[in-house]
Amino acid sequence: MSQPPEALQTRPRVGTGFRLQWEPAQQSWVLLFPEGMVKLNGSAGEIMKRCDGERSVDQIVADLEGSFGVQGLQGDVLAFLDLARGKHWIED
């Protein structure tokens, strides 16, 4: 069995200066930062809330696939995490 690539072993957490929280009024997860907010769509929220610095990307993918009863999410999750890292929403 091959080692998972490095990208799957990182343990992302919410970026410094950002706060992730569930907003009942908007029925969505939001990222809060100085004087601003990003409203996350459903799947982005599900990924972000698992970025706790404890779980590896591998585990996050497995957890999502288990929770939603689907397979093959790895590509989508990695793509989102790349975008989120670029915006400093997460750090490793």
């Binding site: 410094t16 200066g17 706060r19 929280q21 907003e23 009024a25 908007q26 969505s28 939001v30 809060l32 930062f33 100085p34 004087e35 601003g36 907010m37 990003v38 409203k39 400093h88």
Partner: protein, 396 residues
């Protein structure tokens, strides 16, 4: 003090424009140790009496949060002048707001910083008037420059994200490189280079403040050069004064759409300068709950959507893009808040904007008709109010 001006509120990041007051701006007091010449507080601020009490603010925080408010800005005046600031921050934090303190730094001691940290304050926006002691102290009419440097270090030491806000205008726009270098040296995470918008005291002082086109172009070029060099070490926002645009800004991201301002005496406003508009009454949180204010009051409903528009906005294909621009600018420059914002070159009154811009291209020595700078202080406030013929009895 400079609260974030409408166009610097990162409104584009506020994607959820679902018509709930996501942004609550709590203007705790008009008291302020500074006397900035571009202050956006109403020129008649000195007539305001009876600030809301702690328990009234707590009720406002709870009611707005229940409606969906999530960003809370504590502003003023200088919010540090309120001794109950820590209590209000703690309550806002407990309710789940992201809490922002917008301050000149005056009054932020080590002890208060520690108490604010303990209360759960999320972020501090510190205003600088300029990068040099001389200009900072001249523009704010105080000796605060070194104090601000100290406060900036204190903010970093407490681990808060730091936004530096510098209002840009004719007198400091040429030193934008120095301002950026100061922000980097202080370790700011964000730098707002917000050109003064022309309301309140900045309206009174406009001929002193509006930069020339050449000054602006140079400043923007320099800012872009620093952006390229610094990468994402510091995020910089450069906001052009909309006098130099030919379409108006979508002011406050739409009237009564995202922003709710509560003034020191409890008046609820769709933006922090709307109180100047004639023919409208704005409700007070002492009389009405926030839900009724937001959804039912005439003040908040009057300029929502497009139904209130006159020509050229009424038949304009771009009406949803900018919603007719800014109601306060329309009133200040044309006398009627329901007119198109004259920044728009489709406005028949666009000439008032181009005339101000043309005047700004002339060198200072040719602008002798300009009256001396008016500094924001209670005496000037009373003088300007009297000159405008507004009876003091009209105010609470």
């Amino acid at each position: 003090m400079e609260a974030p001006q409408p166009s610097t509120m990162q409104a584009s990041a506020m994607t959820a424009t679902n018509g709930t007051p996501l942004w609550l701006l709590a203007e705790l007091t008009y008291r302020c140790p500074l006397h900035c010449v571009y202050c956006y507080n109403p020129v008649d601020f000195a007539l305001t009496e009876r600030e809301l009490a702690t328990d009234e603010w707590v009720r406002v925080l709870r009611e707005a949060r229940a409606l969906g408010s999530v960003q809370c800005g504590f502003s003023g005046g200088e919010p540090m002048m309120r001794e109950d600031l820590e209590v209000l921050v703690a309550e806002a934090h407990r309710l789940g707001y992201y809490t922002n303190l917008l301050t000149s730094g005056v009054g932020l001691t080590e002890e208060r910083a520690a108490r604010l940290k303990e209360a759960g304050l999320d972020h501090i926006q510190l205003s600088f008037q300029d990068s040099t002691r001389e200009m900072n102290d001249f523009l704010s009419h105080t000796k605060t420059f070194e104090l601000k440097q100290r406060v900036a270090r204190m903010i970093k030491a407490n681990g808060w994200p730091m936004v530096l806000n510098v209002v840009i205008h004719r007198m400091n726009v040429d030193f934008i490189d120095k301002i950026i270098e100061m922000a980097v040296q202080l370790g700011a995470d964000y730098l707002e280079l917000a050109n003064s918008q022309y309301y309140s005291f900045a309206h009174v002082n406009r001929d002193h403040l509006l930069p020339s086109r050449e000054q602006l172009q140079r400043a923007e070029r320099v800012t872009n050069e620093y952006r390229a060099r610094l990468g994402d070490k510091i995020r910089m926002f450069f906001v052009v004064p909309d006098f130099y645009e030919n379409r108006p800004k979508k002011c406050m991201n739409g009237w009564g759409n995202v922003f709710l301002t509560i003034t020191p005496d409890g008046t609820a406003l769709p933006c922090h300068t709307a109180k100047m508009l004639p023919g409208l009454t704005f409700p007070n949180v002492r009389d009405l709950d926030v839900r009724s204010i937001w959804y039912e009051s005439d003040g908040f409903n009057r300029f929502r959507g497009t139904g209130w528009m006159k020509e050229p906005c009424r038949s304009c294909p771009e009406q949803l893009k900018d919603l007719g621009g800014c109601r306060c600018q329309a009133y200040l420059l044309t006398g009627d808040p329901a007119n198109a914002d004259p920044v728009c070159d489709k406005s028949p009154l666009h000439g008032v904007v181009t005339a101000a811009v043309e005047k700004a291209q002339r060198p200072d020595r040719e602008r002798t008709s300009v009256h001396p700078l008016v500094f924001r202080d209670p005496m000037q406030s009373r003088r300007l109010t009297e000159a405008a013929g507004v009876p003091a009895a009209a105010h609470r």
